[in-house]
Amino acid sequence: MGATSWGFKKSLWVFHLNAGACNNCDIEVLDCLTPRFDIERFGMKLVGSVKHADVLLVSGFVSRKVLPQLIETYEQAPKPLAVVAIGSCGCTGGIFRDGYNFAGPVDKHIPVDAYVPGCPPRPEALIDGIVKLMGKL
């Protein structure tokens, strides 16, 4: 298993799920792919299908409407899988904490491996979070 776990650490393919975010975090995620930050240096790339993913990146406060999809996406992803909650909403619920359709932060429903707070988190913070996650795996 040494070789495969080395590969897992060096090539994290990210599937990004918007669970009711205001789209600000999503723009910062795309920022990481730009020439200035370029996370492909660490072997990461965004994939289109959750079946290819190693990291499930969840942004947003998790509304009641999106909760079944969040759980289904998590169950469809092939394991081993790391989950990262980004943004203040993903980590705690943020300003939506008292909202009528708030269904709890991400870690209330699926196990989360790393949190990146911020509203929105800076690309540097995202890269820092993912690199710390790589050290933890």
């Binding site: 060096k10 370029d38 492909e40 240096r41």
Partner: protein, 312 residues
Amino acid sequence: MASTLGLVLNFLIFPGLLFTAVVGLLTQWVDRKVSARVQWRVGPPWFQPFADILKLLGKEIIIPEGARRTGFLLAPLAGLAAVGVVSTMLWLVNIHGSGFVGDLIGVLYLLTIPSLGMIIGASASGNPLASVGASREMKLVLAYELPFVIAIFTAVTKVAPMTLRLEGILEYQAANGVLLGNLSCIIAFVVAILCAQAKLTYPPFDIPEAETELMDGTHMEYSGAALAVVKLSQAMMLFTLPIFFITIFWGGVVLTGWGILYTIVKYVIIVTIIVLIKNTNPRVRIDQAVRFFWGPVTVLAIIGMVLAIVGL
């Protein structure tokens, strides 16, 4: 018995599956690095494709509900085996000169099997988006096969005693200079490169696996080791097609003295052309692609063919 064992070793290790996989993955790194440099990025480290494949081997394989298990898992393997056979045939012809009558036809047939494998696998997965991808791939195969075959047969027409043996084409080129020196074969080479773009499903013809609209289309339901097989056969295709073009149009692979360096330069030039086309063109629609291949490209290929018959 010994020769059978030799052939099996040829297929499995050099120049078949293992060698092709390693060089193909290195080529894929070149592809990703050049793409990154085109976009002013740094790009991944050299071992990146190897890490991807190793990681995928360790992941869970998910077979979707409603999928045909056998077809879903076996189709990519058929594609992988076909590319391995093509690579073995090309290298054995280039190194030992051991071909057989009509091996060119065999290569042309085997080169379509990876696409057929993806069509069967995607249809078996039972996913609507994947089946849209499969239907697009089918149309794409229909579109590019015609000009591709015409382009390859331009080279066959040009060779003096007309031959369907790869070895005959190589001998003619060794005696009379490379085929790329003729106007007709330059046209055929351009057509073949355009078709290679579609064969590899690279932009502008990555319609079957459009990431933004179909979420990887034909590959969508594959995960774990099955996805590794799919990615590996793509990488091997990226290695095999340039070698095929070098064999047909550009004097073949020479592994003695300065020939090694010259071969590598030829190979890198073809790969770079493919990668640059990939990075400078947006994706077209499937109807535009079919019209493009059956219209201008086929006309161009026929012009090349006529020039070859006239003797240019």
